[in-house]
């Protein structure tokens, strides 16, 4: 198979995640107790045997950069290839991923890959894209779009209509085709042509150039049939997280044959106290649990004291929930302290968000 380079384009991640993205980019949002969104994209690329990956980090990247390090924990820090961090820079035109491509073209140019596999970070699944890559290459496609037969209407989502042979007939923001997952393959040569055309117009987003130009190219779709989670808002985030508590969904995402690598953590195993009653929950390591936890997702290093209650909720790393606290239908961000007197109750349709500890300098002052 021809060589393929992976691009994780975080500029295209739609962000309606409210306080979840106060201090982090979408790709760095924690998910499923142990992971961040970007783990799934990275692992799917690695399962597809792509080991040359560039990331357009865009905004709020500090948490992401420290999470990724040199890519060592994902096996990506080899000498001749690996993970390239392409940071945002004040001279990149805001919100133009085309400018991002142009400013960093040398990095893409020096790879001897003929094709690029481009993805955002919000399509969460555990798979290998190898069969799509085979279709793309054997059919000599210029572009191949990964789509799903999702029937749910989503605002701002892009849909793709294809004929019976998979040939793309229409790409648009109107919902009258299959949902575009944000994952696609493109020939490097084709990408160069599209960027040249963008320079002649006022297009700032690659996808908009594609929408106007794809008919000039050999463009197909590839239908993804496995389970997936696709999120662009905090409500969807809550909903998708809760779906994981179903045992089949959990096992489907955590498939044994496709290990999901994530950043190495050094927590001790989770300890349950005498008074713990935990049911229907997903739990990370390093926790000290002595309260009541039902139908919830707990991340790492969390303490739930005796007499605290967590229900239908998501608790991020390092929270301390004191005895007597009551939390229901909520998302509690990192390092939060919930005192014994607090009662936090949201609704399933609109869970309450407790934001990450705010920047301390302001509080110091």
């Amino acid at each position: 198979m021809s060589k393929v380079m992976g691009i994780i384009n975080l500029m295209t991640d739609r962000d309606d995640f409210s306080s979840l993205t106060n201090d982090r980019c979408v790709a760095a949002i924690p998910f499923a107790s142990n992971y961040r969104f970007i783990d799934f994209t990275l692992n799917n690329f690695i399962h597809s045997e792509i080991n040359e990956i560039a990331i357009f980090t865009h905004t709020k990247s500090r948490s992401l950069l420290n999470y990724l390090g040199s890519g060592l924990d994902w096996g990506l820090n080899t000498y001749k290839k690996g993970l390239y961090i392409l940071p945002s820079s004040p001279d990149i035109i805001q919100q133009s991923d085309i400018d991002y491509f142009i400013k960093n073209w040398d990095c893409i140019e020096k790879s001897n890959a003929e094709h690029l596999l481009i993805s955002g970070s919000t399509f969460i699944t555990n798979t290998s894209y190898q069969s799509m890559m085979e279709q793309h290459i054997s059919n000599n496609n210029d572009m191949t779009f990964l789509v799903t037969n999702d029937t749910q209407k989503r605002s701002n989502s892009i849909s793709v209509m294809s004929d019976v042979n998979g040939k793309v007939k229409e790409i648009s923001y109107h919902h009258n085709g299959a949902l575009f997952t944000g994952v696609y393959m493109i020939k490097k040569e084709c990408l160069i042509q599209l960027i040249k055309k963008a320079k002649l117009t006022s297009c700032k987003q690659l996808i908009d150039v594609i929408i106007t130009e794809f008919k000039q190219y050999n463009t197909e779709s590839y239908v993804y049939v496995d389970e997936y989670y696709y999120m662009d808002s905090s409500t969807q985030y809550y909903h998708c997280s809760m779906l994981l508590l179903n045992r089949n969904n959990y096992q489907n995402l955590m498939k044994k044959n496709e290990i999901i690598k994530s950043k190495e953590s050094h927590y001790s195993p989770t300890k349950y106290g005498k008074n713990a009653t935990v049911c229907n929950s997903l739990l990370g390591s390093g926790c000290q649990l002595d309260g009541s936890i039902d139908h919830s997702i707990l991340f790492q290093g969390i303490t739930i004291e005796k007499g605290a209650t967590i229900k239908n909720s998501i608790i991020f790393d390092h929270c301390l929930i004191k005895s007597g606290a009551y939390i229901e239908n909520a998302i509690v961000d990192k390092h939060s302290f919930i005192s014994s007197k607090e009662t936090i109750i949201g609704s399933i349709k609109s869970p309450i968000l407790i934001a990450k500890q705010t920047n301390k300098l302001s509080s110091v002052m």
Binding site: S262, S268, P269, Y272, G273, N280, S281, L282, L283, G284
Partner: protein
Amino acid sequence: MKKECVTMLLAGGVGKRLGKLTSNIAKPAVPFGGKYRIIDFALSNCMQSNMTPVGVVTQYQAHTIHQHIGSGNAWGFDHSKNKLTLLSPFTNVNGGEWYEGTADAITKNIDYIDQFQPEYVLILSGDHIYHMDYNKLIAHHKNMQADVTISAIHVPWEDTRRFGIIHRNTQFEITEFEEKPMHAKSNLASMGIYVFNWDILKEYLNKDNENINSNHDFGKDILPKMLQQNKKLYVFPFQGYWKDVGTIESYWEAHMELLDGEFTEFNQDSHLFTYTQNLDFPPHQIMEGGHVTKSIVNDGCTIAGIIQNSVLFENVHVNKYSTISQSVIHQGATIGRYVDLERVIIQENVIIPDYTSIKVPVTEEPLILTNEYILAEQKVGGLNI
């Protein structure tokens, strides 16, 4: 490259009294505490005390330790060169020679130590569960202007016969040794942790090496000889949790003590952590019917049964209507339905069939369940003990 102190971590122990737990791995590589292996505690102490270089002396089933240590990454040993070296017995020019005792294991590595021209050599064992900042031990050694300093701890009187017992005067000075005495006159036990002035130790090792009647052991030969010849032997009294998991009973007991909070892998006082190799298992899941109390559960587990006072390593699966109590379950084991277990230790990847019931009374040693055991028991008609 001169270094003040070289650490030698003895990790060659056979651990015979651990029975099937050490049938194909070295004692320091035995899993402990839901995530670790016994050697992790000494290794983590070394790195966090900045005790480098460390020579890890392996012998029995050395590859099990070599595989575990791997790149040394997990303990931060890869920052720069020669921080950790695995020292299996190597042939000198005349052919292969095995380590015959704890002292011999150092004698055969004199060249390794000499390259650093150290003042001191710290000798550790890879068999113990504890947190310790070795800098305090070495500071004490310097303060006392000792030739040898032995770290020691008060053990229950009934355990004294398992240890080297030390008598000291009020100045920390050692006056007498008793090696595993039947009727001890002191309950201060050697922890097998020594600091030596390297020039003096080397002299004794070389003499001992020529003595064909010697066991080439620190406790039996080197230290008594030094005491006899009026070298300055001092005690460093250690405060804190320390456990020699030398028997199946003490191995099980140490896990129960972990659940009681007598020891945590994170030492609050000294900020020492325990590090180990990380495995990429997903979060654990407690399902409908699952109930976990006073237990330790690691990543990858899925639990639909009742777990009490037990330690579960990675990727253990407990099915519905089963109860596990006062047990230690190693990585990858699967427990069927309607199973009832008490005071057992389940080996890696063992599958416990439905309706198995094994409850070991407190008067007996906890039982180690292996696949062979399960198969054999099934043949003779069921697993209800």
